[in-house]
C-alpha cells in the first residue's frame, strides 16, 4: 500500500525520532511510504487562535503537496482533525480538498481501519499510561468518550493488546484534557500548567514508567512540566512504542 507521510511542523523540527518511528513502523507493516518534501504545517495554530481566514496559503500548500496520494498518514490526531474540519475552503481546489480531507488518517486509525493489523505482535516490557488526546478521542473518535453511553473501545489499546509484557494502566480520570490546547498553553498559562500537573499526577499515582500518546504536542507539554519538577517518567509516542516493540 502506498502512503504519503505527513509530519506536523513541530514534530519535524523538535521530534524527528517520532517521525522516523512512524516511517519505519509503516514500512515494517508493508507500506510503501513517501515523504513529500514540500510539506510545511496544517495551519492549526493560526486557526485555533481565531485566524482560520489567514491560513489560505498554508492550506493551499498542503492540498497541492498531498493531492496525488491515495492515503495520507500523520502521527497526530490534532493536525488530522484540523485538516478534516477547520481548513478554510479553497474554491479552485475544491474537489482536491475534499479528497485530501477524506483520505488523511491518524496513525492508529490507519493501522486499525485501513491496514487492519488487529494487534501488533512484539514485546515491550514496560508499564505504560496512555494519554488519549482530546482531538483524537472526541474529534476523530479514536476511542470511546467517557461522557457517552457507548461500549468502551480504543484503537491504540487494541494495537497494544498483542504486545508481550506491556502493562497498560487504567487511569482514575480516563480522558481528561492535559491542558496543552495550542496557544492556550501560553494565553491561559496558569490553567494549562495546573491541568498538566493534575494529568501527570494521575499517571504517577499509578506508577507508570512511560506516558504514551498519539499526539506529541500533549506529550511535549506534559514532559515539560515533568522535567521542570524532576519527575522520573519517560515519554514516548505511540509510533515509537509500536516500532520498538515490533523489532
Amino acid at each position: 500500500m502506498e502512503v504519503a507521510l505527513f509530519i506536523p511542523c513541530y514534530i519535524d523540527q523538535f521530534y524527528p525520532n517520532v517521525a522516523k518511528a512512524t516511517l519505519e513502523l509503516l514500512e515494517k507493516l508493508g507500506c510503501k511510504v513517501s515523504y513529500p518534501m514540500d510539506q510545511t504545517c496544517c495551519g492549526q495554530p493560526m486557526a485555533n487562535s481565531g485566524f482560520e481566514r489567514d491560513t489560505e496559503g498554508t492550506t493551499r500548500q498542503f492540498i497541492e503537496t498531498f493531492k496525488s496520494y491515495d492515503f495520507i498518514v500523520a502521527p497526530s490526531g490534532s493536525c488530522v482533525l484540523h485538516i478534516k474540519e477547520h481548513q478554510p475552503e479553497i474554491d479552485d481546489l475544491e474537489p482536491f480538498q475534499k479528497e485530501v480531507q477524506s483520505k488523511i488518517y491518524e496513525l492508529s486509525e490507519f493501522l486499525t481501519d485501513i491496514l487492519k493489523v488487529g494487534t501488533v505482535k512484539g514485546s515491550f516490557p514496560h508499564k505504560i499510561g496512555f494519554h488519549s488526546s482530546c482531538h483524537g478521542q472526541r474529534g476523530l473518535r479514536l476511542s470511546s468518550s467517557s461522557e457517552l453511553n457507548e461500549a468502551p473501545f480504543s484503537k491504540a489499546k487494541d494495537l497494544f493488546a498483542g504486545i508481550k509484557d506491556l502493562e497498560l494502566v487504567e487511569l482514575s480520570r480516563k480522558d481528561e484534557c492535559c491542558g496543552f490546547g495550542g496557544t492556550f498553553a501560553v494565553s491561559e498559562e496558569a490553567l494549562s500548567i495546573q491541568m498538566g500537573k493534575d494529568r501527570l499526577a494521575d499517571h504517577l499515582e499509578h506508577n507508570v514508567e512511560i506516558i504514551c500518546g498519539g499526539d506529541t504536542s500533549c506529550l511535549m507539554h506534559l514532559q515539560g512540566i515533568a522535567e521542570k519538577s524532576h519527575k522520573p517518567v519517560k515519554f514516548m509516542h505511540l509510533a515509537e512504542i509500536l516500532n520498538q516493540a515490533i523489532s
Partner: protein
Amino acid sequence: MSHPSQAANFLKDEKRAHWHDETLWFVREKRDISSKGIPEWEELRKLASGIKDHVLTKLDYYLEELEKKATENGIKVHWAQNAEEHNKIVLSILEEKKCKAIVKSKSILTEECHLNPFLEKHGVEVVDTDLGERIVQFLNQPPSHIVLPAIHLKKGDISEIFHEKLNTEKGNEDPTYLTNAARIHLRDKFMKAKVAITGVNFAIPETGEFVVCTNEGNADMGVHLADVHIACMGIEKIIPKREHLGVFLRLLARSATGQSITNYNSHFRSPAPGKEIHLILVDNGRTKQLGREKFKNSLKCIRCGACMNTCPIYRRSGGYSYGSTVPGPIGSILSPGIDVKKYSTLPFASTLCGSCSDVCPVKINIHEQLYEWRQEITKAQGWSAKGMSMKLANGIFKSPLAYKVSGKILRATLKTLPNSIIYNPLNVWGKGRTVPEVPKESFKEWYQKNRS
C-alpha cells in the same frame, strides 16, 4: 478582567482550587453513573436535540400558541424585549399589589436581567429561597454555577456566613444544623411574601402550562403561600407538547446532578381562585442569537450545568472567572452574543477538548461554537499583534523554503541561547515547563540525507 488573570487568581490557592475541581468532578461522576444506567441515553439526547431544533425553527408560532393557551387558562402573559422591560413589568405588578417583600426561587434569567438590584433600588426586599442562592445572596455575590450557586464555598465558609447573618453557633459546620437554621429563617420570609417569583424550566404551548423544577420545593412553598406568582422565562424555554417532558425531565436531572428525577417538577396551568399567575416572556438578545446561523443552536440549552461540571477549565477556575451570568462552556458561547468585546476572552478559555459537547443532553456543539466565536472575535478586534504574527506564520507555512529556513533558525537559536534567556519571565512557556531538547537536524533534513 480577562479570564486568564481571573483563573490565575483562583489557582493561587492551589489546595482550594483542587478541592473545587474534585467537588465538581464528583458531580460529573454521579452524572456518568446515572446516564449510563439507562440504555436509551443517547437516543434521548438525539430526541431532545431534535425537538429543540424543531422549536427553534418555529419559535414565533409556538410562542403565540403559548400565549393563547396560557391566556385561556387565566394566566396573564407579558412580553419583554430586554432586561429593562422585564424588570419594569415585575415592578409594576409589585406596585399594583403594594408588595414590598418578595420571595424568589432560582431563576438564572432574573440574574441575567439583574432584577434583584433593580427591585432593591425601588425599595423591595428580595429573598432568594434556594439554599445555595440564599447563601451567595448573603455575600452579595451572584451564583458561581447555574445549578449549584454556592459550589465555590466550603462548609466552613457557610458556617461563618450563617453565624454572622443567622446567629448560628460559631464554628458549627454540621450541614443538618445549618440547613435547619436556613429553613427557619426562610419560613418567616415565605409566610410574609405576597408575591413569589420563579423561573421556568419548560413552557408547553399545547396546554398553556409551564413546569418549574426544584430539589428543595422552595418554588412551590413560595408560590402556594403567595397571592401572586410571577414566572419569568427566556423565550427559548419552549417544548411543544407535555409528552416531551418524558424526554427532557429524564435528561435534565441526570445531567445536572445525577438524580434520576428532580424532586419537585411542578406544573402551573391556571391560578387558584382569587390568585394570579403572570408569565413574562423575555427576549433579551435571544432573537438576535437565533439569527446567527452558526450560534443559534446554543438556544437549545436547558441549563443543566453538565458542561460546567465536566469542563477542566471551569473546575479549575471557578464560575466567577468568566464574569458572565452563565459561566462555563455554554456561557462562553452565549455571552459573546450579548457583548462581544466584554466577553472576548471567554471562547479562548478552552482547549477545545470537546467534553462539553459530549456531555450536553441536547447535543449543542459547544466546542465547535467556541472555535467559531474565536474567528468572529479576532475579526471584530481588527488589527492586533497576534493577527500580524498569524499572517506572518501563514507566509512561512505557504512556502516550503521559508519554512525550512525559519525552522533551522529557530532550532539554532534555541540551541545556542543560554537557559537564563530561555527561562526568562517573558517566555511564558518556560515558566512552568522545560522547552524540548533541540535535535541536531529536522526530520526533513534527515530524510533528505538518508532516504532520497
